[in-house]
Assembly symmetry: D2
Homo-oligomer: 349 residues x 4
Amino acid sequence: MFFASDNAGPVHPEVLTALSRANEGYAMPYGADDAMMRVRAQVREIFEAPDAMVHLVSTGTAANSLALACMCQPYETVFCSAVAHIHEDECSAPEFYSGGAKLTIVPCAVDKMTPDDLRASIAAEGTRGVHGPQRGAVSITQVCEKGSVHSLEELKALIAVAQEFDLPVHLDGARFANAVATLGCSAAEMSCKLGVDAVSFGGTKNGLMGVEAVIFFDPQKTWEFELRRKRGAHLFSKTRYLAAQMEAYLTDGLWLSSAQRANSNMARLSNGLRKIDGVSFLAEPDANMVFAMMPRAVHKRLHEGGAVYYLMQGELEGDDPSEPLLCRLVCDWSISDAQIDQFIGLATG
Amino acid sequence: MFFASDNAGPVHPEVLTALSRANEGYAMPYGADDAMMRVRAQVREIFEAPDAMVHLVSTGTAANSLALACMCQPYETVFCSAVAHIHEDECSAPEFYSGGAKLTIVPCAVDKMTPDDLRASIAAEGTRGVHGPQRGAVSITQVCEKGSVHSLEELKALIAVAQEFDLPVHLDGARFANAVATLGCSAAEMSCKLGVDAVSFGGTKNGLMGVEAVIFFDPQKTWEFELRRKRGAHLFSKTRYLAAQMEAYLTDGLWLSSAQRANSNMARLSNGLRKIDGVSFLAEPDANMVFAMMPRAVHKRLHEGGAVYYLMQGELEGDDPSEPLLCRLVCDWSISDAQIDQFIGLATG
Amino acid sequence: MFFASDNAGPVHPEVLTALSRANEGYAMPYGADDAMMRVRAQVREIFEAPDAMVHLVSTGTAANSLALACMCQPYETVFCSAVAHIHEDECSAPEFYSGGAKLTIVPCAVDKMTPDDLRASIAAEGTRGVHGPQRGAVSITQVCEKGSVHSLEELKALIAVAQEFDLPVHLDGARFANAVATLGCSAAEMSCKLGVDAVSFGGTKNGLMGVEAVIFFDPQKTWEFELRRKRGAHLFSKTRYLAAQMEAYLTDGLWLSSAQRANSNMARLSNGLRKIDGVSFLAEPDANMVFAMMPRAVHKRLHEGGAVYYLMQGELEGDDPSEPLLCRLVCDWSISDAQIDQFIGLATG
Amino acid sequence: MFFASDNAGPVHPEVLTALSRANEGYAMPYGADDAMMRVRAQVREIFEAPDAMVHLVSTGTAANSLALACMCQPYETVFCSAVAHIHEDECSAPEFYSGGAKLTIVPCAVDKMTPDDLRASIAAEGTRGVHGPQRGAVSITQVCEKGSVHSLEELKALIAVAQEFDLPVHLDGARFANAVATLGCSAAEMSCKLGVDAVSFGGTKNGLMGVEAVIFFDPQKTWEFELRRKRGAHLFSKTRYLAAQMEAYLTDGLWLSSAQRANSNMARLSNGLRKIDGVSFLAEPDANMVFAMMPRAVHKRLHEGGAVYYLMQGELEGDDPSEPLLCRLVCDWSISDAQIDQFIGLATG
């Protein structure tokens, strides 16, 4: 019963098979292999963007930081939510890669910025002339950090604010596939068709070993990205092994079916937990993640039963069995119904 | 006949098997997996260094840049040879990771610095007080960039110079295994026992998909390294797949046997080429790489016969069939005798 | 009637005289001049800190950024108030000088952090292991950005919080002298005796042309500071002209008498304004600066009468004469009683 | 007898007078003062460049580093001579300000690059695709670091090489005025008319307290420069005191007459020294600086007579009175004929 993270489960078998297949003979290094050409074509088709440029890296932090470094100057600031991964969980990699740009933190009730708060934050920056940082890019996370998924209308409204100020938009899509699965839209409808300029398109949390694609819909940034990637030491020599994973991911909709599976795992889990007294959710689990308040007694039963997940607030040990403690639960594609039901059973008591 | 690079060949089958084996069930992310614990123990044993700290990254440039960033300050300078990979082939990643430190280029006849030249370069820096960069670390490459291998005595002499000035020593060992195979020494004898402080211990060029270990013999730098790695976006979530590769590599001496195989492939190749009129080598091919001058006619026959390798100087097309053109030839563990003999056959004409 | 800033007035005549006197003959450059030696002795005496190291720079932003760069690592974060100059008004110079460290913004009601808010902010950082930035330094501004002055007790409480977490404390004292004048304490009592580690000791806003001192009470950081200052291009060749200004400033208490004069100018001004209907202050003008809400009609009269100051919020033109508009008013040492009375007269109408 | 540096002498009296004059009343800070407007007009007239943008900073290192940061990207490299001030004497400030760009060192016999060496260096970079740094800007020093002055033809030839590769050209003119005085040309003829894109126009070494102008002939870089200057903490609040100095410098040709005076002082000095047995010059002292080999006995007499200058190589104490020791001698505008003659007298013995 492993609900700690979607990066703790196994790699999808199709991906392992693809790696074996890729291991035939010799291939030109540094992205000049055939698989990379095929991946580029796949991305362009899936995103309905014939000019899109695609670059592979091995971590989500690399995808975000390198994309943003190409989208803002050191003397600019990136607008993101108070709980954005780029702000909280990347040890200031965006600041490092951008040469010292700032992140301006937009308040958020749970995990979504409102257009008004975003507008107010942007408006407040760039009013002090040369003394303050200049307005740079806007970064939006989808799936959000606490498990919500922006509707297309919500994304549109945020992007419209960025466009009011003529700022480029980055989408941190570490769980891009899960959001598409939730919304039932196409990849294009959730990105370029809305005006997104660059996407961090996650694979690692959805069955790959460690591959993320950075997609720029405007190909002009390509060479700069390549240089920054190399300079950031993120250019693999044996790129064929990254490309093979991404190719498998994009073939026959594996990216989407895996995400659908993860989301429906979460639906099964949250529906079970919802019925338990004293359980509440920080946000509706729109995709494959939930932040749940559960009584200490529930946590104790789960813990003793062998369930693995992160407690985000509070201590497992304590006097009051009904005290609510916050935890994070994440399902990946590999979690079985049996595991989920066992978890719910333990939680129910 | 692929002699372009040791990062163009397939991954060793043992490594693929290890990846499949690692793909069972769930594992804690970010380096807290069991395989990583085992790798640490293996490295400590092989390097006879019970306190050594080991960190895995996915590219050689990351290994070098992160190690050096922990070994020098932004206002210092790193001493390296004029053909060092960190100077020529990393798009200034060391400068980026160190926050803008300089590299001071020590002249070299072919690919080895002499102790006297190193001493003169170090002496010349640090004489201008606050106006010049301060003396930082010394970085030595082994196997050298043109195919030479330093003897233990040569390494010792260079390290002694660093120690005269109390500077830490980094060893860029992208082909560490090949050098050990050449010298017939132990890993410890070529590193910590000589006074090396940190090693970039390569795996990618020797049968892994993309894994290098950074080894600090003084564990004090560990936490700083971890922070810089995360901040550089080089912390994998699914570290078990890096660890599994490295574990396989260090098991039953695979690292060494693969390197021996690559070296003996090069010996077979160079012995064949050596007999051809007009062929000469920039340096003795001590390990698995040679820079060879060969007449244009030889290149033409190879090219037409389907051999793949990089021409480093001169154009394949040209009037004079005897004009010598410089090329680089590299053997990895996977090259077969038949391929080598076919190559020699074509070259011989 | 110039109340826009304390950096808009003339330099104190004593300072010009000192510059002329300094212009005799030849002096060793780069801080090796005699005046610099005397300044060091003066600072040590005034701060009762015989080991203190003193470095001169020409801007407050340089003082803050260089001091902080010596006090925190690129992977750390600096805690400061939401209105701190280092956050809002230095175009991310601290991020630049530190190599990309973050600033963690502590909320503040007006311009003072509370110890509880500071503690909560520090506690919240450093809980995500390698994923978040590490806890770095605490930076406190005195005089605060909206005109308040921390009492010694308030400073002590903030510093105690920093010490709970073993973090070094930086004091942004662009208006250090004005705060000392307000509190009637000694320079030492407001800094090293409280546990402050480094002070940006301002001179420019208090009658110098452009000189600030960075004072480290622990001399260990001296050489690093010198290197970072040079590398930041802030080492003057003709340092004697900086030193001469600072020497004059520290002689016969000019620094303090100028600040007292500026503060009493503000007292006269604020006492006059306070009596006007519809005038209120964002914070008590403890030193030489006030943020005042005044009805539009008042602003219009002042504007037409030739008063110069910054409107911080709202537009001078508008329908409602009673609408309150926020402005900033600052007095330096040079403002005359007549100017102040003329201003009050206009405002009173 | 102070020949150590042209930044050790007094400020020109006209400059002190200008500072006093500038000290009247109130002035808008941060470059919005009237004197700055006048300086801009003066520069445009003197450089015959009606669109040129002018920014003042207080050190030559700031001028060079900020100019170059606007002219090259972090993943590019700046070409300069092996003895360039930006390489040897700025503690890597250009690397810092550019975000980690490299300097590619072009060999030079004494202190001038040849067009062929520059071309070879540029050609060699940018041939390794994404692996090496990209070609950035070319930086030329005039007056050169060992005292030579490039002829207009020499400058033209170097600039032509930069233009072959479409690279922008920076001129480090810390002693710009001295070079113009030597060549007898106009400021425009030695800069924009030759194709120079940006000039560091020195004032500090020629009678100012600490003011240098950065001049961009293409005004497009202006806003970026302003942001980088602020972020580098080089924006003075009381800019009027920088502007006043520069205004005095550019009024009635003070910049040129001071340089002519310094050059003729050097001519008097070098003509005297030239006659002494055993004295030789590293390069012809074209402007106001000479690197001279002089026998130890000569140095001893000078030292005992109270002459102050830097010994660049060798030790004053030693057995052999005829051993030649290298020193640097610099004249500024303030050195009197009597001092020079006294120096020559001592040297002659």
